[in-house]
């Protein structure tokens, strides 16, 4: 198995009395899109800044592209920070070239790559326009271009969709997918689960600086108790493996519908098997996979309870 693109080993970051990241360990394999999920103050931005060597960990070890975090990696990394801004008086082309040069590209190559990228982003006619004259959406595109101009092996996006309208969110989703298809490993932090659900192969869930979950979306969903919509003649609460059954509106006389929550680890098939073998009449048996939002609430909410 190849070395992870990023690995954190028991990393802690404290700011005075505040522990922003607490004993965090995870690894991001090469390729694909990795979601960094957590609420506000979960430690996402701090973790990304440590990976970029903008901040140093208080303790623990970090490896990025096979080495300790350093600006030496800048040539292989693209970064889009959560709060965005550009030099207002610089032109679009100069801005992209400047960041490409900061990432160690030669002047000629930087200019060529910038022009190609502007073409792809439908911004070629704005190359000489000062940033201050762009709309917010176009300026965001330019900022994305500064992250992509060096064709990075690792793309770090901190809350990339915040502040974008739905159209531009779609454009950005396409760019992220394209980068991943082109071989880059994409890591993005978000607290908007729909984006993660659509894009991520693997997830890291953070709560108060600690890891709450790491794995694939499927594994995340399996970690939650399954839910069923069940229509039967009698209350299924007594069935083995059922944790809770909430009655819904009755579809027709003699039949009752229930929102059923299974006990952790109980497979929906076992409940169905029990019903058929024990003459428990059913008209509907729908398994509802938990959404990522539910997964998020499950893990973050659990921690809240623990914390309190």
């Amino acid at each position: 198995m190849s070395e992870p693109v990023i690995s954190f080993e028991r990393v802690t970051k404290r700011f005075g009395d505040l522990t922003a990241v607490d004993e965090l360990s995870f690894a991001v394999p090469a390729g694909g899109i990795f979601g960094f999920l957590g609420g506000n103050g979960a430690g996402k931005t701090t973790s990304l800044r440590m990976a970029l060597d903008i901040l140093a960990p208080t303790s623990g070890a970090i490896r990025v592209l096979g080495a300790a975090p350093s600006r030496e990696n800048a040539a292989a990394i693209g970064f889009l920070p959560e709060e965005r801004g550009l030099y207002r008086r610089m032109t679009v082309l100069d801005t992209i070239v400047y960041f490409a040069r900061l990432k160690r590209m030669e002047a000629g190559a930087a200019r060529k790559a910038a022009l190609q990228l502007l073409e792809r982003l439908d911004l070629a006619d704005r190359a000489k326009t000062p940033v201050v004259k762009l709309s917010k959406g176009l300026a965001q595109k330019v900022q994305v271009a500064t992250a992509l101009v060096n064709s990075p092996r690792l793309l770090l996006l901190d809350e990339p969709f915040s502040g974008l309208d739905p159209v531009n969110q779609g454009v950005l989703e396409e760019l992220v997918s394209e980068a991943a298809q082109g071989g880059a490993t994409v890591i993005f932090s978000t607290h908007v689960m729909q984006h993660a659900e659509r894009l991520c192969d693997r997830l890291l869930l953070l709560a108060k600086g600690r890891k709450a979950f790491e794995g694939t979306q499927e594994e995340a969903r399996q970690a939650l108790p399954s839910r069923l919509t069940l229509t039967a003649r009698s209350d299924p609460a007594a069935l083995p493996g059922v944790a809770e059954a909430i009655e819904l509106a009755s579809p027709e006389p003699g039949w009752r519908s229930f929102d059923v929550k299974l006990q952790p680890g109980m497979i929906p098939g076992s409940v169905l098997e029990h019903c058929t073998t024990h003459a428990f009449p059913l008209r509907e048996f729908n398994v509802r996979a938990p959404s990522l939002h539910e997964v998020f609430i499950h893990f973050v909410g659990a921690e809240k309870e623990t914390a309190s």
Binding site: R49, F79, F99, R101, L102, T146, A147
Partner: protein, 500 residues
């Protein structure tokens, strides 16, 4: 180093791309040109006209003679200075103008007047003026006598004359040499010199005090002579008494020496102090504005993902330093160009000042103090920018800092003109924050090498400490938000891990 240069180039390009930069760059040369033009073309006319009606017939010729002699004395002084400056004494070593002190002697002045006066001397010298020398011109007269206008009655007493001349005094007198404003008109009655007789003077409202004084002295002198004659003294003896002047011999230090030269030799260094303060504050403000923009619109994080904060700081210092040097080069070039193009007083003032900077080491020391002063102030501006979200935030930190810099420096500059040993200049030379200013101001008048070496070492140590401590503040504050309290600022400065 590559990152530092990239940041420096961007900063440089950003600043020179602004209108403000070009306005500032052009303002000083433009101001110089305008003031030069204004002083040469628009300065108020110094020559004024006067009218004397002397009913006694005894005083006017004497007054005219003495005013003419005063003019020739002044002309001789100025022409002899010119002769000394451009080494023209060999043209006629026996001429009064070949002797720089001749103007102090009445007999020499009379000999000068008799030999053609100012016009004659200028005509004699002009063919020998070396190429590139300042233009030699006949010094202008301050007072020109004109007859009373024909319409003004002079035979019906002082009151009628006064009434008639009042309106004329508000106009210009037309003479063969041009139009000149009237300064005053004098009416000397026939019985002047007898008790109760008074010479009446009417002025334009803006009388020439020099002329008034001169007239009074001349009338007094003539009157005394007549009184001496009336008391029985022979006319010749009375004239001798009146003409007698206390013999004096003035000894001056040779050219280029003496106390007056302190001011002359300090001109370039003091100008450098002004330039240092002006450019450091101007470019520092630009840097501060840029940093506030980067910090407030959060683009700093994108930059820090690519380069270290130290490289960003060094790049900014280098870029803005280059802007400062470009400004200095343009201004200095314009000043030198103007000085050498016009050959006038400016060039004559600048030359001895530049001659004082006669060693390569001294130039190096000046450059060192200039660059150090620039860096010291720039780092302060950078630190302020790193803790400010807005220009308003920055102003609240900046105002006390600027007061701290400017007030002592301005006081020090005035003291430096009095002499290099003034206490405040000596003390500030050893306070590193002020060392560049104080030492620059003193270099033209001679500072010992041990003092230069000592203050330089102290300055380097201070700069290193400033770079370390304010560098910490810069690093620690770049990604912060809001305006930190002074307590937080000091905590960041103290912590070596600040910002990491």
């Amino acid at each position: 180093m590559r990152a530092v240069l990239l940041v420096a180039a961007r900063e440089f390009r950003q600043v020179i791309g602004t209108r403000g930069f070009w306005v500032m760059l052009l303002v000083v040369p433009l101001a110089l040109a305008v003031s030069g033009f204004a002083s040469s073309k628009l300065a108020p006319q110094r020559t004024s006209a006067y009218t004397i009606v002397d009913k006694s017939g005894r005083f006017a010729p004497e007054i005219d003679r003495r005013l003419e002699l005063g003019y020739q004395q002044n002309a001789l002084h100025r022409i002899s200075e010119y002769v000394a400056r451009w080494n023209l004494a060999a043209v006629d070593p026996q001429a009064p103008w070949a002797n720089p002190q001749a103007w102090l002697s009445d007999s020499e002045v009379e000999r000068f007047a008799a030999s053609g006066g100012a016009e004659g001397a200028v005509a004699r010298l002009r063919p020998h003026v070396p190429p590139g020398a300042a233009k030699l011109e006949v010094p202008e007269r301050y007072f020109i006598a004109v007859p009373p206008p024909a319409a003004v009655q002079t035979d019906k007493g002082p009151e009628a004359f006064g009434e008639g001349i009042a309106a004329t005094l508000q106009t210009d007198a037309v003479t063969p040499k041009g139009k000149f404003p009237y300064a005053l008109a004098v009416y000397i009655p026939q019985n002047y010199g007898q008790p109760g007789a008074t010479a009446r003077i009417w002025t334009s409202g803006r009388p020439d005090t020099g002329l008034l004084g001169e007239l009074r002295d001349d009338l007094t002198s003539a009157l005394r002579r007549q009184m001496l004659e009336r008391s029985g003294m022979p006319a010749e003896a009375a004239a001798q008494v009146q003409a007698s002047v206390a013999p004096i011999a003035v000894s001056e230090p040779p050219p280029g020496k003496g106390r007056s030269v302190i001011a002359t030799r300090s001109i370039v260094p003091i100008a450098l102090v002004y330039l240092l303060m002006l450019t450091a504050i101007t470019t520092g403000s630009m840097m501060l504005q840029g940093l506030v923009e980067e910090r407030s619109n959060k683009l700093i994080e994108s930059v820090l993902a690519c380069i270290k904060p130290d490289a960003l700081m060094q790049g900014k210092l280098l870029g803005l330093g280059a802007v400062g040097m470009a400004i200095i080069a343009v201004w200095a070039g314009c000043a030198a160009g103007a000085a050498f193009a016009f050959h006038g007083v400016t060039a004559d003032i600048l030359r001895p000042s530049l001659e004082a900077i006669d060693s390569g080491w001294l130039v190096l020391a000046m450059l060192f103090y200039f660059v150090s002063g620039y860096l010291i102030l720039s780092i302060v501006f950078l630190a302020i920018g790193s803790v400010s979200d807005s220009i308003q935030d920055a102003q609240s930190y900046l105002s006390p800092v600027l007061m701290l810099v400017m007030i002592p420096v301005i006081i020090m500059m005035q003291a430096a003109l009095r002499g290099p040993d003034e206490l405040i200049v000596q003390v500030l030379s050893w306070i590193p924050f002020y060392t560049p200013f104080a030492m620059l101001a003193r270099l033209g008048t001679g500072v010992s090498w041990p003092e230069i070496a000592g203050t330089s070492v102290l300055l380097l140590v201070f700069m290193a400490i400033e770079l370390v401590f304010l560098g910490r503040l810069f690093r620690a504050s770049l990604l912060g938000a809001g305006k930190p309290a002074w307590r937080e600022i000091f905590a960041k400065i103290r912590s070596p891990e600040a910002g990491r």
